[in-house]
């Protein structure tokens, strides 16, 4: 045994927090965190599909209202009065082919109002779903932050240990040179040098793994925050639009009720048109919004997913590369770790 080198360091357990790290465990943990993100992206995809569905339905409602409005405005009666109104009535479910006088316009307006109110309510349902998703993602960010701090602390512990091992390694080298060649003492020193080397290899890997993990968790957090902000903005926009639409519809309902009694008389056609215009405006606002959000989803969500996929490939590639590294490369890694540790020590001498 060497008289000079302090070999206690070989028997000391380094206090890493968490459950230890390996390429596989790191991959598993990152994968778990990513699963949460993927889940939210899937939710957004689902919302996009429903968004398209509602947009189609709202476009139909809008078309009916516009035709109604055009009819009342005298702009859609090329085929004559009866043809014009028949066409308009044909847009109302269950009324296709009915004669002009066979339904009360008051009743039709109330039915159309009911449909419009329902559509706006369906669109508004998005808001709570999105806000819930946003909160889930912020909770996820909190969890990732804990991981980032943990990885940073572990990297620091690994770096400190590597420095200690390096000092022992250098001492053993000096001891070996001083010992008689082929002596028991020299063989003992060489055996300890091999143990130190093995420890250096192990903890240099930890330096890189914890450093890589910290970096990757930080990038994951950025993506998660980006997703949460996207969802929050979308929810706020939807809330604004649907609230405005809902208020306008409520006002339209009052007009429908007020003119209802006389809705079938020619004198009130103008009043009815005003009522329809309010409804049309409301539907217009919401439909334009749904259209906008669809474009938003199309342009941003796809890009976002693509970004995530690129991130995945990069990190996976990095890990695969690590796995394939040979003993020769390991040497270089040890050296890099030691350099880093020494540089850290030089910049912050008080820390270990």
């Amino acid at each position: 045994m060497s008289a000079k080198a302090n070999l206690d360091v070989l028997n000391r357990q380094v206090a890493y927090s968490g459950e230890g790290i390996s390429v596989k465990s790191l991959e598993t943990e990152i994968h778990q965190e990513r699963t949460v993100q993927d889940g939210k992206v899937d939710e957004l995809k689902g919302l996009r599909a429903r968004n398209v569905e509602i947009q189609g339905a709202m476009a139909d409602e809008l078309k009916k209202l516009r035709r109604f409005s055009d009819y009342l405005n005298g702009a859609a009666t090329k085929g004559g009065f009866l043809a014009g109104l028949k066409e308009v009535l044909s847009y109302i479910p269950g009324l296709k082919g009915l004669a002009l006088s066979q339904r009360s316009i008051e009743e039709l307006l109330k039915a159309q109002y009911h449909l419009s109110a329902r559509r706006v309510k369906e669109a508004a349902e998005y808001v709570d779903t999105l806000k819930q998703s946003e909160q889930d993602l912020y909770k996820e960010i909190d969890r990732i932050n804990v991981k980032i701090v943990e990885m940073a602390k572990n990297e620091r512990a690994a770096l400190g240990y590597v420095l200690e091992l390096k000092a022992v390694q250098e001492q053993l080298k000096a001891d070996e040179q001083a010992a008689e060649a082929g002596s028991v003492e020299q063989r003992d020193i060489q055996a300890n040098a091999d143990k130190v080397y093995a420890k250096l290899a192990e903890h240099s890997t930890n330096v890189l793994l914890y450093g890589s993990a910290e970096e990757r968790y930080a990038r994951l957090k950025d993506n998660t925050r980006k997703l949460a902000e996207t969802i929050r903005n979308l929810a706020n926009d939807i809330q604004q639009y649907t609230t405005a639409s809902s208020i306008k519809l409520d006002m339209a309902s009052a007009q429908i009720q007020a003119i209802g009694r006389a809705a079938d008389a020619a004198e009130v056609m103008l009043e009815m048109k005003r009522s329809l215009d309010v409804m049309t405006e409301s539907m217009n606002v919401t439909t334009q919004f749904v259209s906008d959000t669809q474009m938003f989803f199309r342009s941003n969500l796809d890009t976002f997913i693509k970004d995530l996929e690129t991130f995945d490939e990069t990190t996976t590639g990095l890990l695969e590369e690590n796995l394939k590294k040979s003993r020769d490369i390991e040497e270089a890694r040890i050296k890099a770790a030691i350099d880093k540790a020494m540089a850290r020590q030089a910049s912050a001498p008080a820390s270990v």
Binding site: S101, E106, H114, Q135, M251, A258
Partner: protein, 366 residues
């Protein structure tokens, strides 16, 4: 000013809850029979509106300023929520999970409240804005006649909620122009679109006028026309603070009808009694109006709606009498009230003035 749109008042908490509480109890106190719209459905809608406000799902209640009842927007709000409830609840997940996260963010508390609201609502049967039904009463293939009962429940354009029942018999030889289609199974029936629309448009006419109108339809013998009307509801709700005359500031029915009841209520609401009261006050009218061949004595016991013959001038009266001789039926009108203590004297005064004897049920403020 509480008018927010044409004939529309907005009520907010706490007076909105006080109003809905009184209205719900007035519906119970009125002992409504089958002549009126389904009381339980209407009660469910009123309770749902109240629950929606209490839980913060909605921030205001829209009331028809003429009839004093929840308006089309309010009725439709309950109906559409009811239609979407199952799908919304499925999306929301378990209420327990939402409640467990209440402190995490405002959205979870709001969603938990909405979950409670929708869960209760989905099991209820709510009041429809419009509902048509045709029932077959008798079918006699031998004589080729079928008797039908047509029912229409409607939130009328005037803001009142009514039920119209028409009983008629149709002769099969004239079914080329039939107003009701009897299905092949001989058990179910549906009104033709034209007839349905006519009934819908004429629902606000009194039973007497409607009876005469329907008798003119070829191939149809009308036996009974009956209407049950809920409303108007005249309210005065303290909102805190002081009014112009030093009394308590109140929200009141803004556009009460211009009839004896409306005028009496208006005088009361602007008088000393109303200004000084700190209690919410409500008066609701429940009118029945029936024209049928089997009514013994023709009479109107409705203080605000005399018989048609009494409203016509000499010339029109003569023509109307001739018309009535062709259609032998009699008319009976009645109206009962539910009133809080402060308004009971107003109702009694109107009834005394019209010479009618009407039931006035007491409604105690909660």
């Amino acid at each position: 000013m509480s008018i927010v749109a044409l004939h529309t008042q907005a009520l907010v908490l706490p007076e909105a809850e006080g109003y809905l509480d009184l209205l719900g109890r007035a519906l119970q106190a009125a002992r409504l029979n089958s002549a009126f719209p389904d009381r339980r459905q209407l009660q469910s809608s009123v309770d749902t509106l109240r629950e929606g406000l209490r839980l913060g799902v909605y921030g205001e209640l829209y009331v028809d300023a003429r009839a004093g009842l929840p308006n089309l927007a309010s009725f439709t709000r309950v109906c559409t929520d009811h239609e979407l409830a199952a799908a919304s609840l499925a999306r929301m997940g378990a209420r327990g999970e939402l409640e467990a996260r209440k402190d995490e963010a405002e959205v979870f508390a709001r969603m938990a409240a909405k979950h409670t609201y929708l869960e209760r609502l989905q099991s209820l049967e709510v009041a429809p804005v419009d509902h048509h039904r045709v029932l077959l009463r008798r079918h006699d293939p031998a004589s080729g006649t079928a008797a039908f009962r047509i029912e229409l429940t409607k939130l009328d354009a005037s803001g009142v909620y009514l039920r119209l029942v028409i009983e008629l018999t149709q002769v099969s030889s004239l079914w080329r122009r039939k107003v009701v289609d009897l299905e092949a199974d001989g058990e179910t029936a549906a009104a033709s679109e034209g007839f349905r629309a006519m009934v819908y448009r004429c629902a606000d006419l009194d039973a007497e006028t409607l009876f005469v109108r329907l008798h003119g339809v070829e191939g149809v013998q009308v036996e009974r026309v009956a209407r049950g009307v809920i409303g108007p509801a005249l309210f005065s709700l303290p909102v805190g603070g002081t009014g112009g005359a030093g009394g308590v500031a109140v929200r009141r029915t803004m556009e009460a009808p211009d009839d004896a009841l409306g005028r009496a209520w208006h005088a009361w609401s602007l008088g000393v009694g109303a200004a000084e009261t700190e209690r919410p006050e409500l008066l609701v009218a429940f009118a029945t109006d029936c024209a049928a061949g089997d009514i013994r004595d023709e009479k109107s016991n409705d203080p605000v709606s005399p018989l048609l013959a009494e409203r016509l001038g000499a010339q029109e009266g003569g023509r109307y009498r001739a018309l009535r001789e062709r259609y032998p039926f009699k008319v009976f009108k009645d109206r009962k009230f539910v009133a809080t203590p402060g308004l009971k004297a107003v109702v009694q005064g109107v009834c005394a003035g019209a010479g009618t004897r009407n039931i006035v049920y007491d409604l105690r403020p909660g």
